[in-house]
Every structure is written in structure tokens, then in C-alpha cells.
């Protein structure tokens, strides 16, 4: 239970302002078992008491599943530890007296709303293009009617674990959303239920990704390295195959490319 002093260099940007800047803060009495966000809570309590503006950041579940939180900590999306979300980062991974920079997830398609909060609704718009199975309520056959090999179900589940946090975009030098998009396309391509809409789905989702201004994937692999849910970059290769199959299948190319 040794208390630490932590210096924070935090990105501050007012709402509607095009430019922001780093501001230095010091937080005392940080315990190693505290979470990183609880340290920011502590800072905000202090700032509020002093009549200053607290630092805005997003979080909800605080246990690594909702995908709301997302900060670039010490230059890495979700912080230096692999396989963790921002809210799961604990202070025991930092040294007493350390200076930590804290930035939002930066990417053109993720405009900053205020301080560390960004707008990730571009992900929703991609999903709306085809990240679903068109199965109306009331028409479903028995759950065991179509057996699915365990390995396929497991692979679908691996891909479905994506929490939509956007770290992959923030880490990519091209701000590509390929890992995110490929996770959804892969999940549904492993399941028979996703079959009928496969080609169309890939074309439409990839088309929307381009329209939102996300960059191309050039296989840097930074996305996979920061992904808290270990979404594999192999999904991107699979997505490409789905795209070509869709294109060859004569699906609606126009909708996909937006022209």
C-alpha cells in the first residue's frame, strides 16, 4: 500500500475548438491497486474542489467489456499493457514520480468532442451497411436445427469479441478501421446464418469504411498489437477474400464504392 505521486500530461480541448494542448497535473496519494480511470477520478475531484474544469473522458462498465473507454496512455492506445482496455489498466504498472501522457484516440473519422472524448459514430454507420443477419423476429427455426461445428462457432466467437473501442484505428498510421470491420465480417462468415448476405455485406461495409475517411490497411499490424480483445489480423485477410468473392459475385458495387 505504498502511495505514489503521478504526473499527468493531459490533452485538453474545449468543445467546438479546433485546437487543444497538453496541460500538466500532479496527482498525489495514488495507490498501486487503483485503476487508471480512478486516478483520473481523483484528479477530477481535486480539480472540482479547486473550482477548475475537470477532465472529460468516457467510461461506463469499467471492466473491459463495453468499449466506452479509450485513451492513448504513454503513446499507446489503451496503455502499455497488452490485452487490456483503458479501464482495466492498474497503477501498479507505473512508477512513483512517473510522468504519463494521456491523449484521446486520434483519427480523422473520430472527431474530438471535448478533452479526451471522441465521436466514434462512424463505426455505427459502417455496421448499418450490413453488419447483421436479416432475420426478423418470429421466423427463426429451432436453435439446434442447423448444427455448427464447434471450431467454427469458436472462431466466430473470437471475432465477435470485438468491443468496438476504436483502439485499432487510433494505433494505425493510416487510421484504418480494417480490424474492426473485418471482425464483424469474419464472425458472420463463419456462421451458416451469415451466408446468404456474405458478399453484399463485405462490399457495403467496406464501402462505408472508405466513405467515412478511414485509411487503407497496409499491414502494419499496430491494430492487432493494441487490440484489447486479441482480434487477429488474419480477419483482415479473410475480409479481403469476402470482398473479392462479393465483387465477383456481381453484388452491388455501386453502393460499395459510393459512386
Amino acid at each position: 500500500m505504498s502511495e505514489m505521486t503521478i504526473h499527468l500530461k493531459i490533452w485538453r480541448q474545449a468543445r467546438g475548438e479546433a485546437k487543444g494542448r497538453f496541460v500538466d497535473y500532479t496527482v498525489e496519494k495514488v495507490l498501486p491497486e487503483m485503476s487508471f480511470l480512478e486516478t483520473l477520478d481523483l484528479l477530477n475531484e481535486e480539480l472540482t474542489r479547486q473550482g477548475q474544469q475537470p477532465v472529460e473522458f468516457d467510461s461506463d462498465c469499467r471492466e473491459g467489456i463495453c468499449g466506452t473507454c479509450g485513451l492513448v496512455i504513454k503513446g499507446t492506445a489503451h496503455g502499455p499493457n497488452p490485452k487490456t482496455t483503458t479501464c482495466e489498466v492498474r497503477m501498479r504498472h507505473f512508477r512513483d514520480g512517473e510522468t504519463i501522457t494521456v491523449e484521446p484516440f486520434r483519427a480523422g473519422p473520430f472527431p474530438i468532442l471535448k478533452d479526451l472524448v471522441v465521436d466514434r459514430t462512424a463505426f455505427d454507420r459502417i455496421q448499418q451497411q450490413g453488419g447483421f443477419v436479416a432475420a426478423n423476429v418470429g421466423s427463426a427455426p429451432d436453435g439446434n436445427a442447423v448444427p455448427i461445428p464447434k471450431l467454427d462457432a469458436d472462431k466466430a466467437m473470437d471475432a465477435a469479441s470485438c468491443i468496438g473501442c476504436g483502439a485499432c484505428v487510433a494505433a494505425c498510421p493510416n487510421a484504418s478501421a480494417s480490424l474492426f470491420v473485418s471482425a464483424k465480417i469474419s464472425q458472420l462468415s463463419y456462421l451458416p446464418q451469415g451466408g446468404p448476405e456474405r458478399g453484399r455485406r463485405a462490399l457495403l461495409m467496406i464501402g462505408q469504411m472508405d466513405r467515412e475517411g478511414f485509411g487503407d490497411c497496409s499491414n502494419h499490424g499496430e491494430c492487432e498489437a493494441v487490440c484489447p480483445k486479441e482480434i487477429s489480423i488474419e480477419n483482415i485477410a479473410r475480409m479481403r477474400r469476402e470482398f473479392f468473392k462479393g465483387a465477383l459475385g456481381g453484388h452491388d458495387r455501386k453502393a460499395a464504392t459510393g459512386d
Binding site: 477520478d41 475531484e45 471492466e63 471535448k114 439446434n144
Partner: protein
């Protein structure tokens, strides 16, 4: 005067009620559906499922949530699984058995007809989710896998690793995405409903705050559905997400909807214990762990040896000892209270003494590390990250934590509140779980309400007609918006000395100590007095920074905590009025010689529903008698 509430349960045999009711519900012709607007507050399994389904049917749906996208509603955090009476394991499960287990698990304080409907609909949920591409766990043969959960002797829980809620919610999210593209559902993320607008006695709209710009906005509709989840954060520390709140249902209560059984809260037995007062939440360790984990404490009080150094003979596997038939799989209320009893007797472990062990050594020996890792790997990783200890080698330390609220707005069989046109679904209503919810039944209720019940009953309401045109220009909207504005301006104007969190923390302590796992008259009276003091102090001394017309998390929280400071008092009043112990409500004055809950069926076999009578006035307590025609009411026993 106290009213007797009419639940409008359809007549006829239990098994036919819902089918007949569906047949009798008037319908809206497809071409007319888009002329109706429905406000759906909440994008969890209940709200999102209902919004998507109503969209599929062709209604015009306005869907709201506080998160930045609908895919993050708190349903996402559910770990363990979802029940359905499929009997895929051929272990004797059936609609009847799930019905029986749920009514018994709820300690005979839920409504038979609702629970039966839930059991019937459970099967369709699994089919629907599979069709939507939810990757449930499967056996090598390709069929769906099941696990067991507490309080039952069959294996009926469907799961997707330890992320069942996430996968079910992503199913809802994808259905919503499809409807948004189709233009039937309009999504309003980062919009918090702050009040309900009632016109001519009917729910006709809401007032929201745009959480990005701070702008107040009005929305009008033909019906309003609240599916806003539970209110466990009234305890400050709980397993819920930090933005979960009672605000939507509390505002509706203040506009005339009755609040049922507010004191019924579920304290979950297996959460990571509290470590310090900096903490913002407690992390749940899924109930599924009790399938393979064994709970124990040292036999001798004050034994501070490391768990590995405590020999088998000096350990007390207290659940197995007290409840040999169900062992570690007793329902939550029983497991939680049993842990508290051990800790109160000085046998608790860890630094604080408020923890018990959940041990996997036997399971690892029996099944091998890989199988255990496959079942619970993500939970073990989560635990290790927080506690810095490896549960494969050292038993987990766990302690009960506020988790789920069985109480909520009172609704009839149609999920309609006492305000016509205001429907309430999912955890936000009180309807299906009585005084204690069984594991994996909340996801079931959320999906049943969302996919199946709400679309049907709301259509029935709309089809009955009689709804004049109302727009946001109506005076009622202006009046409500002004009230909301004044309230938020007032919070900002206090400029006191203590933060919102300071007050929330204090409230949480009172709730946990006095309105928590065991309650008594003196404690509840003290809690009521203390909460009143806190509320008074809040409006004189809270310090909320920033402006109303800006992104302002502290202001959001300030509004929610103001509501918790009122709700907490009602919970204590309800607990005080209920002079019995049942399920999660344990009154120290009412127990058997063995320390088990003692119900008083003669005087309390009813739902208590509270009516707001104005600020500073005592609310009125009404009742809905519970009638058991199909189940024999017994003393709940898991021995």
C-alpha cells in the same frame, strides 16, 4: 387511500393465457404502422430488442441511450448466460420447471402469469438469437452447449464464453443497425431522458438533455417505453456500469407511475471485494464460477494463514455444509447472506476480513487446467489484473456486492405502468423475479420483453385508438422542459464545497450498512433520517463545475445522484413496511431458528407499489395481492 391494483391478467388456464391474449390484442394494419411514433428509452436487450422488432413491423421508433452508441448498454456486461427451458440436455427441463424454479427462486413474491409467459418465451429467444448470428457455445457435435446456474437442478443456461450479455446485445445492435438503415428506427445516442411528458393523462413524450451540447430537447410520440435498466448504483459501489441510474423511472414515478417493491435488491455473492475508498465500482465474478468453485472460510475465527497452509480439515465449506442438496449452487440471496454470516463471525479472509474463498483446486484436479481455462479464462484474467493474484493457484477472494434490482416501476400483464401509454420493460420494471432473481434470468427477461412482449402489447395499445395528435409545441412540453432546466440550473447554482461523488459515497454507505443484506427497524429508521439530511445538504452544499450548455459529466452525475437521494429513502421505507423476510429482503427481526428468511404470507403475499404524493409528502403504499393457483406455496428450502 390505499388502492388494490389490477394486473389485468387474462383469464383462462395458465398455459393458454399468453397465446389467447396475443390473439385478442387488436392489431395495427401494416400500412398504418408508420403513422405511429414510439419513444423507446434504452438500447439494452429490452429496449433495443423492442425498438428493432417494432421497426421490423414498420413502426416509427425513436430510440435513446446515454452511451455513445447503443451497443454499450449495460446488458453488454452480463457474463454467465441466459436461461431457456429447451431441455436440450434431456435432464427433465420444461416450461413448467423453469416456471416453478423462477417462482420459488423469487420466494413466492412474483406474479404467476408473468413468470409462466417468460418461461414459454424463453425457447424462442434462443432460436431468434441463433438466427441472428449470436455465437453461442457449442458441443463438438455442433449442438448448443449448456451450463448450470444457481438455484436449479437442471442445465439450462446458454452462454457465449463469459460474454453472453455482450453477444446477445450485439445481436440486438445488429438488428437495430438494420432498422436504422431501413429508416424505421432513429437512434439518439448520448441523449439522457430527464423527464416524462404526460398529456391528458397519457404518456406522450420525453424531455432529454443532449449530453454533447447540453441542449434540452423535446420528443413527442404515441407511446413511451422505458427500458432503462436497474438502479443498483444507489449503493454507489455496485457491479453496474458507472452511468446506470434510476433517473428515467424515478422521473416517471414523480409523474404518477407507481414504483413497486423498491427494497427488493439483489446482492450478488461473488464479486471482487472492496479494496479501498477510491473505488468507482465492484467487479462481478460470474455466478457460473460456482459450478466448479467451492466456497470456504477457515473454521477458526481470525485464522490469518495463507489459504494453502490451511489443511482440509480446518476449512469450512459453509454452503455445502448448510445446504447439502444444492451446495455451492444455492440461489444468490442465500449464498450472499451465508458469506456475510461467516465474515460477521470473524472468519472472513483477506486484509479487510470481508471476503471468503472461492476455490478451484478440486475442479482443476478433476477437469484439468485447460477445461477450467476454457470455461472461465477471461474471468480469471480479470481477477488477476485487479488483485494481482493467480486463481489457478490461489483461491479467489470474493464478497457480496449490489448487483440487480428486482424492484422497479409497477406494470400490469401488458407491461403498462399506471400511466396509460407508458410501458416499462427489462430490469426497469418489477415484474418477473419476485424478491430474488435467479442467475441467467435477467437476460431472458430482457430478451422476452424486448423481442416478444413489448411489440405485441404496444401494438395493442395503439390499435385501441383514442390518441389525438400531440406535438412538442403542446404546453405540457414547455412546462416540463422549464422544470428540468430549473433543476439543472439549481444544481449548478449551489456552488457548495462537496463534490457529487462525496454525496454519492455517503449515500452508498448508508444504503449498504442499513438497507443492504440485512435490515432492521432501527437501522431503517436511522437510514431514512440520514438520507433526508444528506438530501438537504446536497441542495445546499454540492459543487458542480462547468456549464449546462456543454459536455459536462459532473452535471450528468449530479442529476442522477439527486434522484438516488430520493429513491434511497423510498427503498428504506419499503423495507421498513415489509415486516417479513423474503428473498433478497432480509429483516433481522424475521428469521427461522436456523437463520433462514421467514416469510409472512398471511400479511405480505403482495406487491407493494408506492405512489408519489408530492415532494415532502409521504408516498402512499398500495398493494397487488399475489394469487398462486398453479404452484403450491412452500417454505423455500435448498437443503
Amino acid at each position: 387511500m390505499s388502492k388494490i391494483l389490477d394486473a389485468k391478467i387474462p383469464s383462462g388456464p395458465l398455459a393458454d393465457k399468453w397465446d389467447r391474449h396475443e390473439m385478442e390484442c387488436p392489431l395495427v394494419a401494416p400500412a398504418n404502422r408508420r403513422k405511429f411514433t414510439i419513444i423507446m428509452v434504452g438500447t439494452g436487450l429490452a429496449g433495443g430488442g423492442a425498438a428493432a422488432t417494432l421497426g421490423e413491423l414498420g413502426y416509427n421508433v425513436l430510440n435513446f441511450c446515454v452511451q455513445d452508441t447503443s451497443r454499450r448498454a449495460h446488458s453488454v456486461a452480463a457474463q454467465g448466460g441466459i436461461n431457456a427451458s429447451k431441455n436440450y440436455q434431456n435432464d427433465g427441463d420444461s416450461v413448467e420447471r423453469l416456471f416453478y424454479d423462477t417462482v420459488k427462486g423469487g420466494d413466492y413474491r412474483s406474479r404467476e402469469a408473468n413468470v409462466y409467459r417468460l418461461s414459454q418465451l424463453s425457447m424462442g429467444i434462443i432460436d431468434q438469437c441463433v438466427a441472428m448470428g449470436v455465437p453461442f457455445a457449442r458441443e463438438y457435435g455442433g449442438t448448443l452447449a449448456n451450463r448450470s446456474f444457481g438455484g436449479v437442478q437442471v442445465s439450462r443456461t446458454f452462454y457465449a464464453r463469459g460474454q453472453t450479455g455482450q453477444q446477445l446485445l450485439l445481436g440486438v445492435y445488429s438488428a437495430l443497425s438494420r432498422q436504422i438503415a431501413a429508416g424505421t428506427v432513429k437512434m439518439f445516442p448520448r441523449h439522457e431522458m430527464l423527464d416524462l411528458v404526460v398529456v391528458d393523462g397519457k404518456a406522450r413524450g420525453i424531455v432529454c438533455r443532449d449530453l454533447v451540447t447540453g441542449e434540452m430537447k423535446r420528443y413527442a410520440a404515441d407511446a413511451v417505453v422505458l427500458a432503462t435498466g436497474g438502479y443498483s448504483p444507489v449503493f454507489y459501489l455496485s457491479t453496474n456500469a458507472v452511468n446506470c441510474s434510476a433517473t428515467a423511472i424515478w422521473r416517471a414515478y414523480k409523474r404518477g407511475a407507481l414504483f413497486a417493491n423498491p427494497c427488493y435488491t439483489q446482492i450478488h455473492p461473488t464479486a471482487i471485494p472492496q479494496l479501498g475508498d477510491y473505488q468507482s465500482k465492484l467487479t462481478l465474478m460470474s455466478e457460473s464460477l460456482r459450478n466448479d468453485g467451492r466456497m470456504w472460510v477457515p473454521k477458526a475465527p481470525g485464522d490469518k494463514r495463507r489459504p494453502a497452509d490451511i489443511p482440509e480439515g480446518e476449512r469450512d465449506y459453509f454452503l455445502e455444509r448448510r445446504y447439502p442438496a444444492f451446495g455451492n449452487l444455492v440461489p444468490r440471496d442465500i449464498a450472499a447472506r451465508a458469506s456475510k454470516v461467516e465474515c460477521d463471525a470473524g472468519k472472513g479472509v483477506g486484509n479487510t476480513g470481508f471476503a471468503v474463498y472461492l476455490d478451484f483446486a478440486d475442479a482443476i484436479k478433476r477437469l484439468g487446467r485447460d477445461v477450467v481455462a476454457d470455461r472461465y479464462g477471461n474471468l480469471f484474467t480479470m481477477y488477476e489484473e485487479i488483485i494481482a493474484d493467480d486463481p489457478y493457484h490461489t483461491p479467489m477472494m470474493i464478497y457480496p456486492a449490489p448487483h440487480y434490482t428486482m424492484g422497479g416501476l409497477w406494470v400490469d400483464y401488458n407491461l403498462e405502468s399506471t400511466i396509460p401509454g407508458l410501458f416499462v420493460a427489462g430490469e426497469a420494471n418489477f415484474s418477473d423475479h419476485g424478491a430474488n432473481r435467479l442467475g441467467a434470468s435477467a437476460l431472458m427477461q430482457g430478451c422476452a420483453d424486448g423481442y416478444f412482449v413489448v411489440p405485441r402489447v404496444v401494438a395493442g395499445y395503439l390499435a385501441r385508438g383514442g390518441l389525438g395528435k400531440v406535438t412538442t409545441e403542446h404546453d405540457a412540453f414547455g412546462a416540463v422542459e422549464d422544470e428540468v432546466r430549473r433543476r439543472y440550473d439549481a444544481l449548478l447554482a449551489v456552488k457548495g464545497s462537496r463534490t457529487v461523488r462525496d454525496f454519492h459515497w455517503d449515500l452508498g454507505r448508508v444504503m449498504w450498512d442499513k438497507v443492504g443484506m440485512d435490515r432492521d427497524k432501527a437501522g431503517l429508521e436511522a437510514a431514512i433520517a440520514r438520507i433526508r439530511e444528506l438530501r438537504e445538504a446536497y441542495w445546499h452544499d454540492v459543487k458542480v463545475p462547468g456549464d449546462a450548455a456543454d459536455f459536462n459529466k459532473q452535471l450528468e452525475m449530479a442529476g442522477r445522484v439527486a434522484d438516488f437521494l430520493e429513491l434511497g429513502e423510498l427503498m428504506a421505507m419499503d423495507a421498513l413496511a415489509r415486516e417479513e423476510s423474503c428473498g433478497g429482503h432480509f429483516r433481522a427481526e424475521h428469521h427461522t431458528p436456523e437463520g433462514e428468511a421467514r416469510r409472512d404470507d398471511e400479511n405480505f403475499m403482495h406487491v407493494a407499489a408506492w405512489e408519489h404524493k408530492g415532494d415532502g409528502q409521504a408516498p402512499a403504499r398500495h398493494v397487488e395481492p399475489l394469487v398462486y393457483e398453479n404452484i403450491e406455496v412452500k417454505t423455500r428450502s435448498y437443503k
